[in-house]
């Protein structure tokens, strides 16, 4: 059971540690700075924080003493264009960080805006662009979803084989590699994009998966909270089945998969694309324990008076037991559950907008 989780926010990185029955927050790191992604690498204990300083660009820091001190590392960056192309890319945001497999101890992946994948083989001391993905001709068909440029927000590493990767791209579909990123193929048959012209609805390359979540003990089970609804794959994201008619809404960003039960997942619904607030002002977590056949609206401890909280795609997490969950919102609320989402309690109502929560 995890006794620590991290909250990346618009104005700093907060750490919550278990103290008896309570969660206690320490002093924030990077106070005042936007933290776009956080990763606790359970292989070696390192803690990574990606910042988006706005004026001064994307930055990356690592702590080897669980946040007591930090070392600035080179952030993922594109090579300088040889021909001086004025449109040559520059990393705008580290959107997600992911640890490599257990057999590649120092490997870290970073998904960025614009949509690129970077890999470090030395704990973030240096980064290499995965050219094979960046040079895919289909990438020219990607487009931004909420941001000006497309981005990679989900990097799933198969726990059985660290060479097998699955990426979620907004908006650029789902991409898979079986060889640690040497070659790539589009996946995600069955996803449906109603926002596209009818003849492109099922086009794999322009789907907008908002977030992918993998069941660690059954990694072929991958849940997808998509712009258009909720989808479930039992074959490692090659194909998906749509789970329709989920009350109160199918729209949302976050999804968490139970680490040991492939039939269980949690979602946080919002009204719809054009109105990203809880349905009827009541915030719920939608939990299924039967592969999406039925959902339970978990509301105990969540605001049922008019609430306008939105939970971003990285802002819901579950620990390795499936019992403890944490969730933060753009309104600066933070909640935790000890019983798989049945009951929630507010840990803070005054945080900055939350971009990510992550158990350590």
């Amino acid at each position: 059971m995890s006794d620590v989780f991290y909250v990346a926010s618009r104005k700093g990185l907060f750490t919550y540690r278990r103290d008896g029955a309570d969660w206690v927050s320490g002093a924030p790191a990077f106070l005042g700075e936007p933290v776009s992604a956080v990763l606790k690498d359970k292989r070696d204990g390192a803690l990574y924080a990606a910042l988006n300083l706005g004026h001064f660009g994307v930055k990356l820091h690592r702590s080897d003493d669980d946040g007591a001190s930090w070392k600035e590392l080179p952030a993922p960056a594109f090579a300088k264009s040889a021909d001086g192309d004025e449109n040559a890319p520059s990393v705008e945001l580290v959107w997600t960080l992911a640890a490599g497999g257990a057999d590649e101890r120092d490997a870290i992946w970073a998904g960025t805006i614009p949509g690129a994948l970077f890999r470090s083989d030395d704990r973030g001391e240096s980064w290499k662009l995965i050219d094979s993905l960046w040079n895919q001709p289909e990438r020219q068909g990607w487009f931004g979803g909420g941001y000006d440029n497309p981005g990679i927000h989900s990097v799933l590493v198969d726990p059985r084989d660290s060479a097998k990767l699955t990426l979620g791209v907004s908006c650029g579909g789902i991409w898979k590699s079986d060889d640690r990123g040497v070659s790539w193929r589009l996946a995600g048959r069955g996803l449906r994009a109603a926002f596209l012209p009818p003849e492109q609805t099922n086009d794999l390359n322009t789907q907008d998966p908002h977030r992918l979540a993998l069941c660690k003990s059954a990694p072929d089970t991958i849940w997808c909270q998509h712009h258009n609804g909720v989808f479930l794959s039992r074959d490692g994201a090659d194909t998906f089945e749509e789970i329709r008619d989920i009350p109160p809404a199918v729209f949302g960003f976050a999804v968490a998969a139970h680490p040991n039960d492939p039939d269980t997942a949690w979602l946080v619904p919002g009204v719809k694309d054009e109105c990203r607030v809880p349905v009827d002002g009541k915030l719920i977590v939608n939990k299924t324990i039967d592969s999406g056949k039925t959902f339970f609206a978990m509301c105990d401890g969540l605001p049922q008076t008019p609430s306008y909280d939105l939970v971003y795609r990285h802002a819901l997490d579950v620990d390795e037991t499936g019992a403890r969950l944490a969730m933060g919102s753009t309104t600066g609320n933070l909640w935790a559950s000890d019983d798989g989402g049945q009951k929630w309690r507010a840990l803070s109502r005054h945080l900055p907008p939350v971009s990510q929560v992550a158990f350590g």
Binding site: H55, A77, F78, G84, P89
Partner: protein, 89 residues
């Protein structure tokens, strides 16, 4: 030597006291400074070596014009100021 000073807003991220560098262009001046303060480069320039959108450079009170190639001339006695643009939030 041109004298280069930096906004206080940078100081909370990394040490960057006023420095001097031989004149030439803004690019040449910055490159000379980055030789001594390598971390500073990514704070002022993007991946392609362009001035970040919300960083401004003034030479003797005049804002530079070429933020991509940084070709504005800098004379040996010039004073160069590196500022950040203001933003909300």
């Amino acid at each position: 030597m041109a004298r280069v000073e930096f906004t206080d807003n940078l100081q909370k991220h990394l040490a960057c006291p006023p420095m001097t560098a031989p004149g030439g262009t803004v690019r040449a001046v910055l490159d000379a400074i980055f030789e001594e303060n390598t971390t500073l480069r990514s704070y002022l320039l993007d991946d392609q070596g362009r001035l970040r959108k919300h960083v401004n450079i003034f030479i003797n009170g005049e804002m530079i014009r070429d933020c991509s190639n940084l070709s504005d001339p800098v004379a040996d006695n010039d004073r160069v100021f590196v500022f950040q643009a203001l933003s909300g939030g």
